[in-house]
């Protein structure tokens, strides 16, 4: 029996839509022992060309589908890798820190949970706009009430999932409602989970790329509608 593992056991999944300005720096900040799957979500700014110059595995959506769809594509692609044991979901705009990922990977290995969710409210949020804090807190209240999964931060892009979780989760919501959907599926598939403190750095770049707060209404509408009439 060859004990040689072909490829890394941890893959970063990075959805990227028009992130040409930051993506190569984000990718080069990731240590080489981790694999990288970058899903270009039909960008029009040369993101795919930027990624192609790096060591990341590139998956290109022929059209723009949304961040949730890009994550699911990354999951499907990572599942094909036999060496994959863990997937890290990581934002393309450079707001996450590698040291948090390392701590989360240690935690998932120690505790054997299926999912470790990053929480900026346990850790820190540098330069977070106050309006964003309010909306995120409301989202957490809403999610805790509607899903039965207790978290302190539901809309954090940094998560670590084990293979079982990646195989179980199937995101149908293509847009930014996927954060709520992941929480919902953790509940539905009875995945075990825990939270880890992370620090989010809000740069001018990530603030400009961030979600508009008004979109919270769209997300809430879709989540409630799905609950009432099914998918």
């Amino acid at each position: 029996m060859a004990e040689r593992t072909l490829g890394p056991e941890t893959y970063f999944v990075i959805p990227a839509f028009n992130e040409g300005g930051a993506i190569s720096d984000v990718i080069s900040s990731i240590p080489v022992e981790y694999g990288i799957v970058c899903v270009d979500d039909g960008s029009s700014d040369g993101t795919a060309a930027e990624v192609a110059r790096t060591r990341a595995l590139l998956v290109r959506h022929p059209i723009n589908l949304g961040q949730g769809a890009a994550l699911q594509t990354g999951f499907d692609f990572a599942v094909q890798r036999p060496s994959m044991k863990y997937v890290v979901t990581f934002d393309a705009d450079g707001q996450h820190r590698i040291e948090d990922v390392v701590a989360m990977l240690d935690l998932i290995k120690q505790t054997n949970v299926d999912v470790v969710m990053g929480s900026r409210f346990l850790g820190g949020a540098i330069n977070m706009p106050p309006s964003k804090r309010i909306i995120l807190k409301l989202a957490v209240k809403f999610s805790n009430l509607s899903t039965g999964v207790r978290l302190t931060d539901t809309h954090n892009g940094l998560r670590v999932l084990n293979r079982h979780a990646v195989e179980s989760i199937h995101l149908r919501m293509a847009d930014f409602a996927h954060a709520s959907e992941i929480v919902d599926q953790i509940h539905r598939h009875k995945l075990s989970y825990t939270e880890a403190p992370v620090t989010i750095v809000y740069s001018d770049y990530s603030r400009a790329k961030g979600q508009s707060l008004i979109n919270a209404i769209n997300i809430a509408f879709d989540v409630i509608l799905t609950k009432v009439v099914g998918t």
């Binding site: 595995l57 290109r60 022929p62 769809a69 594509t73």
Partner: protein
């Protein structure tokens, strides 16, 4: 007359949820077609006998026949909007799956060479 309104509302909401939940099933589709047929028949009857609508409206405590008509139209439109919204979501999900399949197939082809190099050393 308030009871008639409550019963009416419950029936309409219940039907909407039933149809939206089961929209893919043949039975719900058949009921929708039957409902359309009934709608056409009722329309013909009310066009021929306009006073009938006012009678029904008074019976339900809604007021004039025109009010009942407006009421019905508003509900139909709302139902139709939701139905279309969900249908739209479903078809974009189908497109997503198609695009994802394509993206992964292409990536597998492009990444095969690099993968082999990884395995070699």
């Amino acid at each position: 007359m308030i009871w008639a309104q409550v019963v009416f509302l419950v029936i309409v909401l219940g039907m909407s949820v039933y149809f939206l939940r089961n929209r893919a099933r043949a039975r719900a589709k058949a009921y929708k077609k039957l409902a359309l047929l009934i709608f056409v028949l009722v329309s013909i009857v009310t066009i021929l006998f306009p006073d009938l609508l006012s009678g029904v409206a008074r019976l339900l405590g809604i007021g004039r026949g025109a009010d009942l008509l407006l009421y019905g139209l508003a509900l139909t439109m709302l139902f139709q909007m939701l139905n279309n919204y969900l249908k739209d979501k479903e078809s974009s999900y189908t497109i997503n799956q198609l695009a994802r399949r394509l993206a992964i197939l292409q990536a597998n082809q492009e990444n095969r060479l690099t993968d082999l190099q990884d395995v070699d050393h």
